[in-house]
Amino acid sequence: MNSWLYLVCFSLRRQLRPRRLIVALILFLVLVVLVCTIGLVEPWKIKTFGRWIIGVPFCRFFLPIITLTLGTAVIGDDREDKTLVYLSIRPISRWSLYLAKLLGALPLALGISLGAVFGLCAAASVCGGLPLPLSEVVWMFLPTIALGTIAYLAFFGWLGAVFRNATLIGVAHVFLVEFFMGQVPGVLKRISISFYIRCMLYDAGSGHGLEPRNTAIFQPVEGDEAAASLLAAAAVFLALGMYWFSRREYRDLT
């Protein structure tokens, strides 16, 4: 148990790569500048803040990209650096090794995503002002972002265990499936995680005018259903990742 817990902490430390964090910080600061720039022109409403900041740039780019880099790095970093051998020869079962590494990435992913949401809400509150207290606005978006982070992380972690070029495949997935397919009419968009995140977002902000541009095309589901779907996706991809990693031989370990 000791070695497993140490592996979780070790994995968390390994994820704290300066370049990655700097890029996340730059993205965040760009969003803050965006919030302040717009907020100085006119005060924020929940509807505009939810759509222009949380909805599009944050949920459809920042969140998937951050979870992509952290999720695929769970196994991908060690594969690329050829250091996976040092972990695979330890007396730790493969599935628990995968679980430890994913759990090691989770605090960082949640920290960045939730911290960024809090920061953006705080920036909006300072620049332009929000119609509700800061804590209420943060709490409105927090569950959505948290569940979205967990679901994305589990998915990209699985991707990293399966594919050697997981980052590129993940990017292709984000831009082709999450971005484009998430906007097509019909039920096809329900294969994207971003659909359920947006459903939760619209459900949370429905009392403040935050809704899809075209409800007939978007056809959202209820917030509870979306939350359950995200949790189920997280559980399924976590299980898949553990199973895949435990069965697969990585011949490129050295």
Binding site: R19, R20, V23, I26, L27, V30, L31, L34, T37, I38, V41, T48, W52, I53, V56, P57, R60, F61, F62, I65, L68, T69, T72, A73, G76, D77, E80, N165, T167, L168, I169, V171, A172, V174, F175, L176, F179
Partner: protein, 317 residues
């Protein structure tokens, strides 16, 4: 009989001093002739790089995705030509035909511009792989030492990599666009389309080359700076997805202030494409130096980053 040992002075061993100069191999001009690389030394660099990318399975996937768009346009041109032939002389058919033409493919500069722009997502993804494979790996796995231990100038290394990445982009943009141009012209009743559309042809070549070379330069700078696949992909996504989203939001929120779009590389390429195709646009029409300067700044920064990082030996403290 033993010979007397020969007295040797060190001075005798030194050749006549010819005004020895310190050769700085990092500048373009002071390498002596006998060390200078052949003029085409960049071509093996390009060829090897292309080979490295092309043999990857994921390259074929992205090429396939890029071809989908091309095949769609190509099929539409054929469809419209066929429809026009079928409906010739029929009054009722002309309405739907005009509607289809306007909606799908008009054969004007906008159509070709839109086709190349439509390839941008796949091009972006393809370049992200190329950056990591062609340049990032050279830095990470210290292959630069091998390149610069040969009589290869730094500019030749750069040019070779540039040619490799540009060729990849050209395969998805310029060449299919030229194919569409030829196809559209050939499905006309005469060859007049080719004569009348010289400006369009110029636009295709110029825009295609700008997209290929411009994006490649940007990629080389990013890849040299960041080196790792994940970091390259993140920054690439930031430049080509995040910044356009952000600038669009600001553009919407500020009720049409277009100066923010100077941060968007796509938008700058789009402005250039309008200029090449002769498409009228209000954006920066009175101040063309803004987008030109912004584009130059982007490419200059990328070139500077690449030049700085290109060393045979990495000094580690």
């Amino acid at each position: 009989m033993a010979e007397e040992p020969l007295e040797i002075n060190e001075v005798d061993l030194l050749p006549n001093a010819m005004g020895a100069t310190v050769v700085d191999r990092w500048t373009l001009s002071s390498a002596p002739d006998e060390l200078r690389a052949p003029a085409l030394a960049w071509w093996p660099v390009a060829r090897i790089g292309l080979g490295l990318v092309v043999k990857r399975r994921i390259f074929k996937v992205f090429m396939g995705l890029g071809l989908i768009n091309f095949l769609f346009f190509s099929a539409m041109i054929y469809f419209l030509a066929g429809l026009a032939a079928q409906l010739k002389g029929q009054r009722f058919g002309q309405g739907p035909l005009e509607f289809a033409r306007n909606f799908i493919f008009t054969g004007t500069g906008e159509s070709y511009r839109d086709f190349i722009s439509g390839q941008n997502v796949v091009v972006m993804l393809l370049l992200a792989i190329s950056g990591a494979v062609l340049v990032g790996n050279d830095f990470r796995f210290r292959s630069l030492t091998f390149y610069f231990s040969k009589p290869l100038e730094r500019w030749q290394y750069f040019f070779g990599k540039l040619v490799a990445t540009s060729l990849l982009v050209t395969l998805l943009t310029l060449l299919p666009c030229l194919a569409l141009f030829v196809e559209y012209g050939l499905f006309g009743d005469t060859f007049d389309y080719f004569i009348e559309s010289r400006r369009i042809l110029f636009g295709i070549v110029a825009y295609g080359l700008l997209v290929s070379v411009g994006m490649s330069i940007l990629l080389l700078g990013v890849a040299a700076l960041l080196q790792r696949t994940i970091s390259i992909v993140m920054v690439w996504g930031l430049i080509f997805i995040f910044l356009p989203i952000v600038t669009e939001v600001i553009h919407e929120a500020s009720r049409g202030s277009h100066y923010w779009k100077l941060l968007d590389f796509w938008s700058l390429l789009q402005w250039c494409s309008n200029a090449f195709f002769g498409i009228e646009s209000d954006l920066y029409s009175a101040e063309p130096w803004y987008p030109i300067g912004a584009l130059a700044a982007w490419l200059g920064a990328a070139l500077w980053a690449f030049w700085r990082k290109t060393r045979a030996v990495e000094v580690v403290s």
